[in-house]
């Protein structure tokens, strides 16, 4: 039984056409699962469906065995899911520290310990804790975004194209950090445009085409798969 | 069909007012309703066609009124002799300074441009004042009790309706050039400010329209009641109708204005409807509904908006001139934003924004309610204070301010319509 599973999801935005067709995505604790595919394949849509930002006509989402399909995104956050949107994912007018504080908003307890953990994971954030998030570079901002999501001590962390628009070096660094996060036992679900690098660090990979699962395997296996390589990895 | 019914109801209201209150009163309301309807049409052109939220209607109406003064008032030769040249010179100087600033902004750049602009503006300001102030002082000292201003052109006041439209159009061009690129919030605030400034200028620059001393020497467009009473042809007419002479003369005057105003209203309505249905009108609404798409298609959105803004304001200016004509006096102090700007907006929203017929109906309905509410307010208050002692301060206070209940009423009407029937009584097609 997977820790988080979106099973046979079918649905779309509002009353529009279905984007996902019987799509299944699953991830285990401490595992990194990556969703890749061509543009318009429904990658972000699949993740948003799991998070509850669109209506599922068919299928279900289960967290640790519990059906959470109908839960609102805010309740899902309380249930232990963290979500890092692709854009607009920090409070640009607030300091790094305040961003992290906002991340922990739903917590009643003392979250300083968690903040220290985040600072350990992302040392640059500690350095720039008093700076406004809007003044940071793209890569640093992404770290703030991830750090913010980590403040609720989620059991699942979902990232929507975390390396969009960052340089290759920064991307490598980000992926390193994500691996560190996974090591702490958090399940990571990631949508990525940079398929090759993402599959490199992935325990599990889902290749989506037109809203359907096309290939599902370990990251390594997908990288070695000639069909996958030809279609999505440039041979 | 429903529309005809609504207008018929409205007509019935006038008849009722005539029967139960007085025909003279009913006709007064009718005339003001006609004027309001024209203003509402102007606003609708801006809002319905282009989605422009103009909160400065008061200013354009005042410009129309000022036109009435400048067209119709008798010229004051002494004032012209004393300061006319100075005023003209300052006008030329102003144009020169503006031209200079435009030149500077086009031909230079960077630091030089910034400093040069500032110097030109400040220097220009003081230079103009050098010529302007003495001219103004000279003019205003000529018989201030009766004139103290340059006077007008002494032409029949009816010309001022077109001139009023032109003035307002000119003002709208200036405001539009400056403010139309702004977001709707800011445009609203900017137009609010412009209208306050226009009124401040009209109140303050006595040499132009006597400021708050008002101009009450305008010659009306139709014969006065007194003239009618003394005219044999009218006397026989009144006898034929078996009507009391003085009342009849009053009613005749009002009916004449009503006729004139109705002609103007119908003319403007006809033109507006033609424009709405024309390719130009369709394009305007396409822009309004999806500005970005229209812009992507190469339509010059700002220029189109400017056109609509100018035309709509011109219509308001015409209405302003009509109002001053009927009052036969120009009183800048009476232009207050609640009555002239926001009330018109209530008319458009309630009547049906985006629909010309709706705006007219709204103009009639809301003005009618506004006037009648002033009379019925005290009656309502009577009910409310029924249980109270005759001389209790609360009661006297409430009774005194009953007339202001209509503000509350207007607000409530606007809120209810916005919430439950936002498209108004006669919605856009």
């Amino acid at each position: 039984m997977s820790y988080l599973i979106g099973e046979k999801m079918t649905g779309g935005y509002g009353k529009g056409a279905d984007i996902l067709h019987e799509c299944t995505i699953a991830v285990e604790k401490g595992e990194i699962a990556v969703i890749v595919g061509p543009n318009g394949a429904g990658k972000s849509t699949a993740m948003k469906a799991i998070f509850g930002m669109l209506n599922l006509r068919k299928g279900s989402v289960k967290l640790d065995g519990k059906d959470i399909t109908k839960m609102s995104p805010q309740d899902k956050v309380k249930a232990g899911m963290g979500f890092v949107p692709q854009t607009s994912n920090v409070f640009t007018g607030m300091t790094v520290q305040e961003n992290l504080e906002m991340g922990a908003y739903i917590r009643d307890d003392d979250f300083n310990g968690t903040m220290e953990q985040v600072f350990e994971l992302f040392p640059i954030l500690k350095e720039k804790r008093k700076q406004h998030a809007g003044e940071l570079s793209g890569g640093q901002r992404q770290q703030v975004a991830v750090g913010r999501a980590l403040m609720t001590r989620p059991k699942v962390l979902m990232l929507d194209e975390p390396t969009a628009g960052v340089s290759p070096i920064v991307m490598d660094e980000l992926f390193d950090r994500i691996i560190e996060v996974a090591k702490t036992g958090i399940a990571i679900l990631m949508v990525e445009q940079n398929a090759r690098q993402a599959l490199n660090i992935a325990d599990k990979g889902y290749v989506l085409v037109q809203g359907r699962n096309r290939f599902t395997d370990t990251g390594e296996a997908l990288l070695a798969n000639p069909e996958v390589r030809k279609s999505f990895l440039g041979g | 069909m429903k529309n005809v019914f609504l207008f018929a109801l409205m007509g019935l209201a006038f008849v009722a007012a005539g029967e139960f209150q007085s025909w003279s009163f009913s006709l007064t309301i009718l005339n003001l309703c006609l004027i309001s309807a024209v203003m509402a049409l102007g606003v609708n052109i801006q809002w319905g066609y282009a989605g422009i939220f103009n909160v400065g209607i008061m200013g354009f109406a005042a410009l129309g009124g000022a036109a009435a003064v400048l067209v119709n008032a008798a010229p004051v030769p002494e004032a012209w002799a004393a300061g006319g040249f100075g005023i003209l010179a300052s006008g030329v100087a102003l144009l020169a300074v503006i031209g200079l600033v435009v030149l500077i902004r086009r031909k230079t750049s960077g630091q030089l441009r910034r400093y040069a602009t500032i110097v030109a503006v400040i220097g220009g300001f003081f230079a103009i004042r050098e010529v302007y102030d003495p001219a103004v002082a000279a003019i205003e000292s000529i018989d201030p009790a009766k004139t103290g201003f340059l006077g007008g052109m002494g032409l029949p006041i009816i010309f001022s309706w077109a001139v009023g439209g032109l003035f307002a159009a000119g003002g709208a061009w200036v405001v539009g050039k400056v403010a139309l690129g702004l977001r709707s919030d800011y445009l609203a605030i900017a137009t609010l400010g412009i209208s306050e400034i226009i009124i401040a200028v009209l109140k303050n620059e006595d040499w132009l329209t006597r400021g708050v001393k008002n101009v009450s020497t305008l010659q009306p467009a139709v014969p006065t009641a007194i003239e009618l009473q003394n005219a044999p042809w009218f006397q026989s007419l009144a006898m034929w109708f078996d009507a009391e002479l003085i009342t009849a003369s009053g009613i005749f005057v009002k009916l004449s204005y009503a006729a004139l105003f109705t002609i103007v209203l119908l003319l403007i309505l006809w033109l507006s409807e033609k424009a709405l249905k024309s390719p130009w009108g369709r394009m305007m609404r396409a822009i309004r509904d999806n500005r970005d798409a229209a812009q992507a298609m190469g339509k010059d959105v700002t220029r189109r908006h400017l056109q609509t803004f100018i035309i709509g304001s011109a219509v308001v200016g015409i209405a302003g001139a009509m109002l001053t004509t009927m009052d036969a006096q120009f009183t800048p102090g009476t232009y207050n934003p609640l009555r002239f700007t926001f009330l018109i907006w209530v008319m458009v929203i309630v009547g049906g924004s985006g629909n010309n017929w709706g705006s007219i109906l709204g103009g009639f309905l809301i003005w009618f309610v506004w006037i009648e509410a002033e009379r019925f307010g005290p009656m309502m208050m009577e009910l409310v204070t029924y249980g109270m002692a005759e001389d209790s301060p609360l009661r006297t206070n409430l009774m005194d301010s009953a007339a202001h209940l209509r503000l509350f009423l207007m607000g409530a009407i606007l809120l209810i319509v916005l919430r439950f029937s936002p498209r108004g009584l006669i919605p856009e097609k």
């Binding site: 409070f91 640009t92 007018g93 | 609203a188 303050n204 301010s401």
Partner: protein, 337 residues
């Protein structure tokens, strides 16, 4: 030397002191407008009349206190009545949100529609104020009128120009300082304040973080109503209470908020003072000042007044338009939605 001091005294009396007081009043008003803009995302045309409403309630409470023999001593009794006025205004404003604005938030109406609704609320408030307290002028300041009179100042310093400081002016500045400090502390340090800043900064992300939008909106209205009541009361104490003037204040208040950077509280305060001092500076007759500052006995002809006082609003308006054209985000780079 005495000439320079006289010149300074002159400016203080006619420009600096009144400007400080007026600037404080505008700052408080602009803070309310900017807060509503950043959280509720519309320009509240009813804010001026909210100030009138709040002032009215305070005046009524003042009269009630006075009738019971309670007075503030040297300070205006209105200060004691202020909490009552604030409480009443807060309740009324929350009611208008519930009855009017909440619906437009739910249907995600365009901000222009909410603006029009605020025009409706403006009418209603305007009407209520005029019906309840009448449209005429009300004077309700009591207590010690002056902290220092011009005559006393002249006697003290031996200068020929006096500075008079009215109690109401000093109170305005002090109260404004306290309120602004409290507000900034709230926004910067408290959890709810930070949540509000987050909500204004990025609504979606704030919702994702579990911030309750209804609570944020409610607190915003409460603060705005409080600020409006305080600003309206201080203005009424300092000048006088006349319902119509509050509507006219809308323009300088909007100008202050926009010039400073709409959505930015610091900007609202800065903007308030910029507008106030500009209005006073541009309409002041500098004749005596120049006479003092220039050597010898030369006195300039003419008043040396840049603009007549009737054009006060023109000043704030021109500044507003300039800012909108040149730098729409304002001095402190507010948020332009």
């Amino acid at each position: 030397m005495t000439d320079i001091l006289n010149a300074l005294a002159l400016m203080s009396n006619y420009v600096f002191v009144p400007g400080l007081a007026y600037g404080s009043q505008l700052a408080l008003g602009a803070l309310g407008v900017t807060l509503i803009y950043s959280i509720l995302r519309f320009s509240n045309f009813a804010h001026g009349d909210t100030m009138a409403f709040g002032a009215m309630l305070t005046i009524l409470a003042t009269w009630w206190l006075q009738s019971m023999g309670i007075s503030g001593g040297p300070l205006p009794t209105a200060l004691l009545a202020l909490p009552i006025g604030i409480a009443g205004t807060v309740l009324f404003v929350l009611a208008t949100d519930r009855m009017v604005y909440r619906y437009y938030r739910k249907v995600k109406a365009a901000s222009i529609v909410t603006m029009m609704a605020s025009v409706g609320v403006m009418f209603v408030m305007n009407g209520m104020v005029r019906v309840i307290i009448g449209p005429g002028e009300q004077r309700f300041a009591d207590g010690e009128r002056f902290i220092i009179k011009a005559r006393e100042f002249k006697a003290l310093t031996g200068l020929s120009e006096g500075i008079s400081i009215r109690t109401t002016q000093a109170i305005t500045v002090i109260v404004a300082l306290i309120v602004v400090a409290l507000l900034f502390w709230f926004l910067q340090k408290s959890r709810t304040g930070k949540a509000m800043r987050a909500y204004a900064d990025n609504e979606d992300l704030a919702l994702l973080s579990g911030i309750d939008p209804d609570k944020v909106v409610m607190v915003a209205w409460i603060i705005a109503a409080t600020l409006a009541t305080i600003a309206g009361t201080l203005y009424g104490l300092d000048k006088s209470f006349k319902p119509f003037t509050y509507f006219q204040l809308l323009l300088p208040i909007f100008a202050s908020a926009i010039v400073g950077g709409i959505g930015n509280p610091l900007g609202a305060v800065a903007g308030g003072f910029i507008i106030a001092f500009s209005e006073m500076g541009f309409t002041y007759a500098y004749k005596r000042f120049v006479a003092y500052v220039t050597p010898g006995d030369w006195v300039p002809d003419g008043l040396l007044q840049l603009l007549s006082t009737d054009y006060k609003f023109a000043v704030s308006f021109v500044i507003l338009v300039l800012v909108l054209l040149v730098r729409p985000t304002g001095i402190f780079r507010g948020k332009v939605l």
